[in-house]
C-alpha cells in the first residue's frame, strides 16, 4: 500500500499534531485532543458553528475551521464518527452565548453522537440546533430524503452557515440559511479506484481496473451502477443527468458548483470534467455564479470526483461571496 505513516493505529493523532503546528495562524488545539477550534473562538456575540465527522476527508472537516467558517470541529477515527464527548467539547469551544449551529452529515454514528452531545449541552445551558446534510442524491430515492448521505455539499453548507453567523444573525436565522443551502444542493460521486484505511491495510471495496462506480459514497458505499470507465465529458454528463432532474434545476437558475477530487485524482482531471459540466449547464440555461474545483472533500486515496450543484438566490449568493479564511477555503 506504500503509505507514509508511523503507527497505522495513530494516524489521526499524528496528523492532528502536524495540522495544528502548520496552521497556528488559524487553528488551535483544545483541552480535548479530538477537538480543534478557530484560534479566536468563541467569538463574542456570534452564533457558534460546529461540525465534525470521521477522518480521512481532508481538508474536511478541520480544514474548514476559520474566519467566517467553522468555530470548532470534532474529529473521529478514519471514516468513523467523533465521540459524543468530542461533539460536546466542540459545542462548548464554539459557544459565545448566542447558541451553536451544529452542521454535519447524515450518518448513523454522527447522528447518535450529536444527539448524545446535545442532551448534555442542553443540561449545561448551551442551545444547540442542527442541520443534517443529505446532498448525495445517489444514496437514496427522492422520497427518502432522510436516508440520503451528506457529502461535499457540506462545504457549501458550512460556507453559508459560517457567513450568516458572522453577519450577526441569530441561531434560528443561521440554521434556516444552512438548511436552505443544503435543501438546494445535490451531489453525485464517481469512483475509479478504491481507498484503504491504514489500520485495515487493504481496500474493503473494489473497483475493477477499467471500470467506474457511478453514485459511490465517500466511504465506498455502493453507487447506482458499475460501468466501463468513460471519458471526462461522459462522466460530467452522467453525473449531471442524476443531479439536474433531482432538485430539479431549470433554465434561468443560478448555481454554485463544487467539483472535488476524492483524493488521488489529479486536479488537472478535475478541471477537464468541470469544463464539460459548465458547458452542459450553460446549454441548459443555468448560470454558474461561482465554481470551486479542487480537493475540497476527499476519501483518503480514492480516485474519482464528486460533483455538487447548489441553486442560489440573493441570500445564498451573499453568503457564498462573503470572505472566508480557512485552510481548505480562502476567499477574499
Amino acid at each position: 500500500m506504500n503509505r507514509i505513516m508511523n503507527d497505522p493505529n495513530y494516524v489521526v493523532e499524528d496528523m492532528l499534531k502536524g495540522f495544528v503546528k502548520a496552521n497556528a495562524d488559524i487553528v488551535s488545539a483544545t483541552g480535548n485532543a479530538r477537538v480543534l477550534k478557530y484560534k479566536n473562538a468563541p467569538i463574542a456575540n456570534k452564533v457558534g458553528i460546529v461540525t465534525g465527522g470521521g477522518s480521512g476527508h481532508k481538508p474536511a472537516f478541520i480544514g474548514y475551521i476559520g474566519k467566517n467558517m467553522c468555530d470548532a470541529v470534532a474529529v473521529g477515527e478514519i471514516f468513523s464518527s467523533p465521540a459524543a464527548a468530542a461533539f460536546l467539547d466542540a459545542m462548548q469551544a464554539a459557544n459565545a452565548g448566542r447558541g451553536v449551529a451544529c452542521l454535519y452529515g447524515n450518518y448513523a454514528g454522527d447522528n447518535m453522537n450529536v444527539k448524545m452531545a446535545m442532551r448534555k449541552a442542553k443540561a449545561m445551558g448551551i442551545e444547540v440546533k442542527t442541520v443534517v446534510a443529505n446532498d448525495d442524491c445517489a444514496s437514496a430515492p427522492k422520497d427518502e430524503l432522510e436516508k440520503r448521505r451528506g457529502v461535499a455539499g457540506e462545504v457549501l453548507m458550512w460556507k453559508v452557515g459560517g457567513a450568516k453567523a458572522s453577519m450577526g444573525a441569530d441561531l434560528d436565522t443561521v440554521i434556516a440559511a444552512a438548511q436552505k443551502a443544503i435543501d438546494n444542493t445535490r451531489s453525485v460521486g464517481i469512483g475509479t479506484a478504491p481507498c484503504t484505511i491504514p489500520a485495515v491495510g487493504h481496500p474493503n471495496f473494489t473497483i475493477a481496473d477499467g471500470t467506474m462506480e457511478l453514485g459511490i459514497g465517500h466511504h465506498g458505499e455502493p453507487g447506482v451502477s458499475v460501468e466501463p470507465l468513460a471519458t471526462a465529458n461522459e462522466i460530467a454528463e452522467k453525473m449531471l443527468k442524476l443531479i439536474l432532474p433531482d432538485l430539479p434545476f431549470a433554465a434561468g437558475d443560478e448555481v454554485v458548483v463544487l467539483l472535488s477530487g476524492l483524493g488521488a485524482t489529479p486536479v488537472m482531471e478535475q478541471y477537464i470534467v468541470y469544463n464539460r459540466v459548465e458547458e452542459i449547464l450553460s446549454e441548459q440555461g443555468i448560470r454558474v455564479h461561482r465554481a470551486y474545483v479542487g480537493n475540497y472533500f476527499t476519501s483518503l486515496e480514492m480516485m474519482g470526483v464528486t460533483l455538487t450543484v447548489m441553486k442560489v438566490d440573493d441570500e445564498l449568493k451573499q453568503c457564498i461571496d462573503y470572505p472566508a479564511d480557512s485552510v481548505g477555503l480562502k476567499q477574499l
Binding site: E77, A84, A108, M112
Partner: protein
Amino acid sequence: MTIKNTEAGRIVQDLIRTIHENAAYLSEIDGKIGDGDHGINMNKGFTICEQRLADQEFSLSDGFAVLSRTLMEDIGGSMGPLYGVFFDEMSIACADLQEIGAKDFLVMLQNALAGTQEIGSAKLGDKTLLDTLIPGLEAYSAALDAGKSFQDALKDLQAAAKAGWQSTEGMIAKIGRASRLGERSRGVLDAGATSCYLILNAMADSILRMLAASK
C-alpha cells in the same frame, strides 16, 4: 444464587480479553460489508479501558461505568454510543446492589436494551446487534419465568443470542452503512451482532464461573 458486585469486576476483565482475542475476526467480518474497522475500534476502546482499570480493585458496576465512559468519550463511531449506553445502563442498574441475582441481571439487560434502542433507531430484523440482544434477553426472561435457575437461564441466553447472531447472515441490512448495500448485505454476518454475541456470551460465562465457584 447471586454474585457479589464487589467481586464481579472480573467480568469486565473477561470482556476486555474477549474483545482482544476477537479483534481481527470482528474487523474481518466488518470488512465484508462495512469499513473493516469494527474490531480495531472496539479493541482500541477496550484497551484504553483496560489501562484505566489496571492495578485497581473495582466492582462490576464501577467497571461497567469506566467501560461506558471510555466508549462514549474515546471511541465514537456507531459502536461508541451504542455500547456506551449499553454498559452505562448495566452499571446504573447494579450500582446500588451488593448481591446480583438472576432477576437483577434481567433488569440490567432490559435497561441496557432500552438505552440502546433509545439512542439508535434499529428494530429487530434490521441486521444489527439487536438481533443478538433481543432474542438473548427474551430467552433469559422466559427461562426465569419458567422457574429455571440463574445458571440454566444464562445458558438459554447464550444459546438464543448465538442463534440470533447467526440469523443475521440471512438478513438484509436496514440501517447503518451496510444498508446502502441492499441485497448485497445478505450472506454475511453483522459485525455489531457478532460483537454483541461475544459480549453476552463472555458475560454469561463469567457469571457461570463465579456461580460455580461460590457453590
